[in-house]
């Protein structure tokens, strides 16, 4: 376990170095001139020149890269061209909203996967469920997000479809509104936050649920015809015990891998869904940064997502080794 953690930290550092290199490379390839961008379009050439000097843009590339790394190590991701604030401050402001939505989507997705696998398992060979899953699974996320928002918010007005919260000025200690509402003793805030989360989380959970559910169902199907399941039935265990003790755990590895993959795709989907539902998180921030060619902001978010991805992967691998003790971390 210790070697595994060491290995994954070493791995994380390597990945971050590679990413920083790519980010740095992009900065120097893209024709945008940061000095001009900061000084403003109407600044006289001398000001821009002074800015270049100040930013060290005339130094050799190696020196610039070293400086860049040093700044990264201090969590300094540069200044956003659009908001004129340090990118790290922006990220601190928008990350909680995205974390909250992302975690809710993963939880909902896993629950959906469980329900789907259970349905398919209980009603084997049901063409209806299979068809529904193919239909749901093949709807692109921008469409399902739009459909959800159109019907349940715009047409029926059952659920809120824009923003995170009705209470404009609420700000809690963690930034995760559902938890903060409970922490500060305002349960109505938590409920309101949950209601706001339903539609975007559903849109994001749908591909997770379908993919993980299918993988779980396939794995369960294989496992339940294994000889050791017959041994378990031969002990006179009830079918539920056989499924829970002998089936699920042995079937866990593949759906967990699939979950890891889906979480990576989730980062991309967040951009679309946060845009559609006006969710004030990192996704929306990134979309806006794209629109105004705000390179430092885009790259800062990329690094944050990179770290999150490594974290998720590590968690998934730990989960797999817990399900299957033969996997020695």
């Amino acid at each position: 376990m210790l070697t595994y953690l060491t290995k994954s930290i070493v791995g994380a550092v390597v990945v971050l170095l590679v990413m920083s290199f790519i980010v740095f490379g992009l900065q120097s390839i893209i024709p945008a001139d940061p000095a001009r961008a900061i000084a403003g379009p109407n600044a006289p050439p001398e000001t821009v020149e002074a800015m270049r000097e100040q930013l060290g843009l005339d130094d050799p590339a190696v020196v610039q890269y070293g400086r860049f790394l040093l700044r990264l190590a201090h969590a300094d991701l540069g200044t956003s061209v659009r908001t004129r604030q340090p990118v790290s401050d922006d990220i601190q402001q928008f990350l909680p909203a995205t974390l909250e939505l992302g975690l809710a989507s993963i939880a909902l997705g896993v629950a959906l996967a469980g329900v789907m696998a259970a349905l398919q398992f209980l009603i084997p060979g049901s063409a209806g469920i299979r068809l529904a899953m193919v239909g749901v699974g093949s709807t692109p996320i921008f469409l399902s997000a739009l459909l959800l928002s159109y019907f349940f918010w715009f047409q029926l007005d059952w659920l809120p479809g824009a923003g995170r919260l009705t209470y404009r000025d609420f700000a809690g200690p963690t930034g995760l509104n559902v938890i903060d509402g409970i922490l500060v003793g305002r349960p109505e805030v938590s409920v309101d936050a949950l209601l706001h989360m339903i539609l975007p989380a559903l849109a994001l959970a749908q591909p997770i649920g379908v993919a993980v559910g299918r993988s779980l169902n396939g794995a369960l199907h294989d496992v339940m015809s294994q000889a050791y399941v017959r041994t378990a039935r031969g002990k006179g265990l009830s079918e539920t015990k056989v499924l829970l003790r002998h089936g699920l755990r042995n079937a866990a590895t593949a759906p967990l891998s699939m979950l890891g993959l889906q979480v990576r795709l989730l980062f991309g989907n967040l951009l679309v869904v946060e845009r559609v539902f006006g969710w004030p998180g990192l996704g929306l921030y990134t979309v806006q940064a794209f629109a105004s060619a705000d390179l430092p902001a885009v790259l800062g978010v990329a690094i944050v997502f990179g770290i999150l991805y490594i974290l998720v992967n590590t968690l998934i691998e730990i989960g797999q080794s817990m399900a299957d003790p033969r996997i020695n971390l």
């Binding site: 000889a227 003790p325 033969r326």
Partner: protein, 600 residues
């Protein structure tokens, strides 16, 4: 149903299991087929009954039916009666079945590797099983002869060997103190030495716990070394039943007699072809009102296909037999004895294969920090040469390195040290254990055999004639030239594989456990075919097996491999009469024999 006089010397005991007129229909892809047909028998406490028949005869299906574990996707329809400890199970509800499985009937199966949950410790799997057991988990483990039960209880299954897992499964079953234990070929996957120990263990358990054991096997010798009574199953019907010794001595049904004659052991005559059962099972005949064995039976009469022979008292022993003409059976063996001896085989001094100082390691040890594995030696300085025209059998337990050695001889694996010299320039032909898996499913048999005729199109007249000759050489029906592997039996597939190997006769044929998954009669047929082919085509042969009896029958010399080293190599009868190594001695001692009690 015939009442059998059971153990007249003992006080009459109540039967634990009473099966009456049991029939099972399973449906595959919507097509129903009768898998068991009118099965009736009783079992008494502590009794061991051998259930014998070739593969596909329905042995496993009986076991699963008695446990209520026939796969429900096959829509099992069960008729008749199963009374276990007085409880009727046919038509019983889920709860009744669950409680029967918990307390009354347990099973151990053919595949100890797959029968334990890989992610659960032995202890937890055993705790689930306890039933009405007194005594700790460690007690039960050590009762099955497992050393160090504490360590084993806390281990995961993949840390244990096949023999250890089978013992764990036996402990798992026996700690529930079941009335009935179903053992479905529990030793097929194990080495002879391990097999002998497991059989001993079952014998002791039946005696001490008064558990009735239904021992499923296709091997009559194993059955004879263990069982009190025998049921012979053919195409889902009981064709003969009686005391084990009676049937072994005087089989009343032509099928049982054939099975007995096809059995070979360390005393069989190796100078002539082994006796075999006539042809193979043809599953597609209509047998509702006929004897199912009629297509193969050497003494069949016209009436055999007009009525279904009832199970009636046998004239030669105190049991029962389902054959209209069973008084003719004793004359069968007389007809068989006069097979012509094999012609002498010319063995030249030149080597067809020479291995000098061959060594090989595989990385299987613990992983280092960088994920690399430690190399483990598999073969250590092997020196072996096979002369042109000679057959050498390589014997050893699983994991000894037999297959690795064969692959090195074939040039499929490169050794780390030493040299391999072959007489032939062509790559040698290899015959593997599973004939069905070694054929391509979507090519016809003719196409696959013809593939090896490099420059000749298999569709040309000449090509088809060569393929036809090869097919005839291995005794395959020429109409099968255009058949796909799925349409053929295992035996036919094995013949096709051999035809493919010998259409361009190699100087050296390599066989990797070609008979170990076969029932006795098919194994004998295959051994005869190989003996015939190598003489006719003047091939040298390396025959890898864990069966000493088969090795003795086919080979000119036997080489014994133990832990990657050749411990002895000599003439078969010399090795068996005077084994030099302790390992060979234990192999011979573990061979079951038809005389009850097992061992020699």
């Amino acid at each position: 149903m015939v009442k059998l006089s059971h153990r007249t010397s003992e006080p009459v005991t109540e039967s634990v299991l009473s099966v009456k007129d049991l029939s099972v229909i399973l449906s595959r892809e919507g097509r129903p087929s009768r898998v068991l047909d009118g099965i009736s028998f009783d079992m008494f406490p502590g009794e061991i009954i051998a259930l014998v028949g070739e593969s596909g005869s329905g042995k496993t299906s009986i076991g699963l039916t008695l446990q209520g574990l026939l796969p429900h996707e096959y829509l099992p329809q069960i008729a008749g009666s199963i009374r276990l400890a007085g409880i009727e199970l046919v038509g019983a509800g889920r709860r009744t079945w669950q409680s029967a499985r918990r307390h009354l009937v347990r099973a151990i199966s053919q595949d100890p590797m797959g029968a334990l949950n890989p992610t659960m410790t032995i202890r937890r799997q055993m705790r689930e099983s306890n039933g009405r057991s007194e005594g700790s988990i460690e007690d039960w483990l050590s009762r099955t002869g497992l050393p160090d039960p504490d360590r084993i209880a806390d281990a995961l299954p993949h840390r244990l060997s096949g023999g250890q897992r089978q013992r764990v499964l036996i402990a798992l079953a026996m700690m529930a103190r079941p009335k009935l234990l179903i053992a479905d070929e529990p030793t097929t996957a194990l080495d002879v030495t391990m097999q002998a120990q497991i059989l001993d263990l079952l014998r002791v358990l039946a005696r001490d716990q008064q558990t009735a054991i239904l021992f499923v096997t296709h091997d009559l010798t194993v059955a004879a070394s263990l069982a009190d009574r025998i049921l012979v199953l053919y195409a889902g019907r009981i064709v003969e039943m009686g005391r084990m010794q009676d049937v072994a001595r005087n089989a009343a049904h032509p099928y049982s007699a054939g099975l007995l004659a096809a059995r070979f052991d360390l005393d069989s005559d190796r100078r002539r072809p082994l006796p075999t059962l006539p042809s193979e099972h043809t599953p597609s005949i209509r047998v509702e009102n006929a004897c199912a064995y009629a297509t193969r039976c050497p003494i069949a009469q016209p009436d055999c296909t007009a009525i279904r022979p009832p199970l009636e008292p046998a004239s030669v022993h105190g049991g029962a037999v389902a054959c209209l003409h069973h008084e003719q059976t004793p004359f069968l063996s007389a007809q068989r004895a006069d097979a012509k001896p094999w012609p002498a085989q010319a063995i030249q001094e030149t080597a067809a294969l020479r291995l000098s100082n061959v060594g090989k390691t595989y990385p299987t040890g613990a992983r280092s920090f960088w994920g690399r594995r430690q190399p483990q030696p598999i073969l250590r300085s092997i020196n072996l040469s096979i002369k042109l025209g000679e057959c050498v059998a390589l014997v050893g337990e699983s994991g000894a390195g037999k297959s690795t050695l064969l692959r090195i001889a074939a040039g499929l694996v490169v050794p780390e040290s030493g040299t391999v010299t072959r007489f032939d320039k062509l790559p040698p032909q290899v015959v593997f254990q599973d004939p069905v898996a070694s054929l391509t499913p979507w090519l016809t048999i003719g196409e696959q055999i013809g593939e090896r005729l490099r420059a000749v199109s298999p569709d040309s007249d000449y090509g088809r004639r060569r393929v036809g000759e090869a097919i005839k050489l291995v005794g395959l029906d020429p109409v099968l030239m255009d058949a796909l592997p799925a349409e053929m039996s295992v035996g036919q597939c094995q013949r096709a594989v051999l035809a493919r190997a010998v259409i361009v006769p190699p100087r050296l044929l390599l066989c990797d456990e070609p008979i170990s998954a076969m029932d006795v009669s098919l194994a004998a047929t295959t051994l005869n075919l190989l003996s015939d082919l190598r003489r006719r085509l003047d091939m040298a042969m390396l025959f890898v097996t864990h069966d000493l009896a088969a090795a003795r029958i086919i080979a000119d010399r036997i080489a014994v491999l133990k832990d990657g080293e050749l411990v002895e190599i000599a003439d078969p009868d010399a090795i068996i009469a005077a084994p030099q190594s302790a390992y060979t001695r234990s192999l011979i001692a573990a061979m079951p024999s038809l005389q009850a009690g097992g061992g020699r």
